[in-house]
Chain length 323, copies 2
């Protein structure tokens, strides 16, 4: 009898499951868009349904053939117990996701932070193959960070290490959404970039952006920024390059403290403009990382996109089963 695991990505805008063999060959997939204003219990119900869909698609017997479920979830959460401590988006507070899924499907479940799990996916199957110490930076609305040290996800005392977007670029800088002054996210988060681009558009220096998206920060997402830069909006390019350089300063500082062998850049902004990000980050590393540590570190762009979390989650639960 064959055995299968589920890798699950519980994202802000969608949830996705993949059923795969313990060798990580995908047999079936399912996904659903997130719905706004759903209750925590309804969201849980849809997670169960999404898993059942993948299982049904593959026509396997979940009672006998489904041997584990790995989940990448927003946090903060406790990776030891699989309890989501607090997640406003999902309407969960101290929600025992891991325990509930274990009871529902009668198999081991691992729940970890989505950025950690995505980083772990890249570590094993993507840009980080062959790495031992990997740091992932994922700029988007927030700037996520994942640490794989000595081959394992590093959680720290709180379970939530890796808040790289809330490290300090300027102690006297503008307030971040988290309330602290001068976080990298307050400079290079997507909404901040979008706001600066909107300002440029309003003063008539970004015709492509203005035509396509106007000046509503909410509508200026990674794709819009990419098209603006590609369309010749030089001042928008300057805005994005500055933010990318700041991400590079962050990367340099993570090299200085952690000396990883691999620095992976991923997330929506980087996927939209990989060359721009690679160039600016490389330039920043040259100025701000110690040469002796930098020479041990390779800069990579993430390779797996959304599959990073699904694959990383599957890997985590396979390790738990085989332990």
């Amino acid at each position: 009898m064959a055995k299968y695991v589920i890798g699950f990505d519980l994202g802000g805008t969608k949830m996705a499951a993949a059923l795969m063999t313990p060798k990580f060959e995908v047999k079936a997939r399912s996904r659903q868009r997130s719905k706004a204003h759903e209750s925590g219990d309804d969201i849980y119900g849809r997670i169960v349904n999404t898993i059942r869909d993948a299982v049904g698609e593959a026509k396997i017997d979940p009672k006998k053939e489904l041997v584990g479920i790995g989940v990448g979830s927003p946090g903060p959460l406790d990776p030891e117990t699989g309890t989501i401590i607090d997640c406003a988006n999902l309407n969960w507070s101290d929600f025992p996701l891991g325990k509930k899924l274990e009871k529902e499907f009668g198999c081991p479940v691992v729940v970890d932070n989505d950025v950690n799990v995505g980083t772990y996916g890249e570590f094993h199957f993507g840009a980080g193959r062959g790495s031992k110490h990997l740091v992932g930076i994922f700029p988007g609305t927030g700037i996520g960070g994942g640490l794989v040290l000595d081959g394992r996800i590093y959680h720290g005392a709180s379970g939530s290490a890796g808040e790289v977007g809330h490290m300090t670029l300027d102690p006297d800088g503008p307030n971040c959404g988290c309330g602290k002054p001068g976080c990298y996210e307050a400079y290079a988060g997507r909404n901040v970039i979008a706001a600066a681009a909107a300002t440029v558009a309003l003063r008539g220096q970004a015709p492509t952006l203005l035509k396509n998206k106007g000046s509503d920060v909410r509508t200026i997402r990674s794709g819009a920024l990419k098209r603006s830069v590609a369309g010749g909006d030089k001042e928008v390019e300057t805005v994005v390059r500055r933010a990318a350089y700041q991400i590079g300063i962050l990367g340099a500082n993570l090299i200085n403290v952690l000396s990883p062998d691999t620095l992976v850049l991923g997330g929506g902004l980087v996927e939209a403009m990989p060359d721009l990000f690679r160039d600016e980050v490389k330039r920043a590393l040259k100025t701000h990382a110690m040469p002796f540590l930098r020479k041990f570190c390779t800069l990579k762009i993430a390779e797996l996109g959304d599959d990073a979390t699904i694959m990383g989650a599957a890997k985590l639960v396979v390790e738990k089963i085989e332990a």
Copy 2:
């Protein structure tokens, strides 16, 4: 027959050895001051003599009863092989210290970075007892950092992780001795503090310092700064407090990325003015560390002084023997 290990601290100004039981009871000690302009081989010879002195003091038979030597050394070095890659102070370049001592004394030797080893000493025997994830910051001429993650010294890909003094406080700041702009060390290293204090003294606002030490940066060491502050030089106190606060911003950023359970402050400046440093660092943590991570972390002042390195080195070699 009893068995003993040596813990060895190879410092910039002195070297010290302690012979102890595998339960870390010290049986004998020896130490020597460093000599200027000594050749690498002469320094090695004095290391051997210092160890022999401790062994002789305890009247044990090194061939039979000395079972291991642990050394904390300046680096960069390779902790796998015990080779010092490059150390100008010691006139060593690719110097196989570990292998040479193993041959000399016929027992296992561990060599690791002095700051790492000191941090490990505090972790096991000092301020970090009971910790699992500990970050040490040691402000002095340089600002050293040691990381003990999941109970083990973290080395990273280069073997030299933890260059916290060369993380960036201000990307556009003044050049550091390392050549990079705006490192914490370029703001809060002892010589920088001393230079600012000398300026204050020259403009007549630090009578105690001026009387005791004049305005030569070289002579204004931690003790002189302590006496100046204690003697009522308010402007010098402001200078030192600003630097201590900057060390606190560094600590906050290490909490944000690593989420340690313990943050230890040590080194000459902190030993001279522990309350001042504790106050300013605590204040900075409140502003710059994420509350969710900060609440898992206790701020401690190092307890072992110079013995941290000796004890940490002994612990490392006992672990190697018992592995």
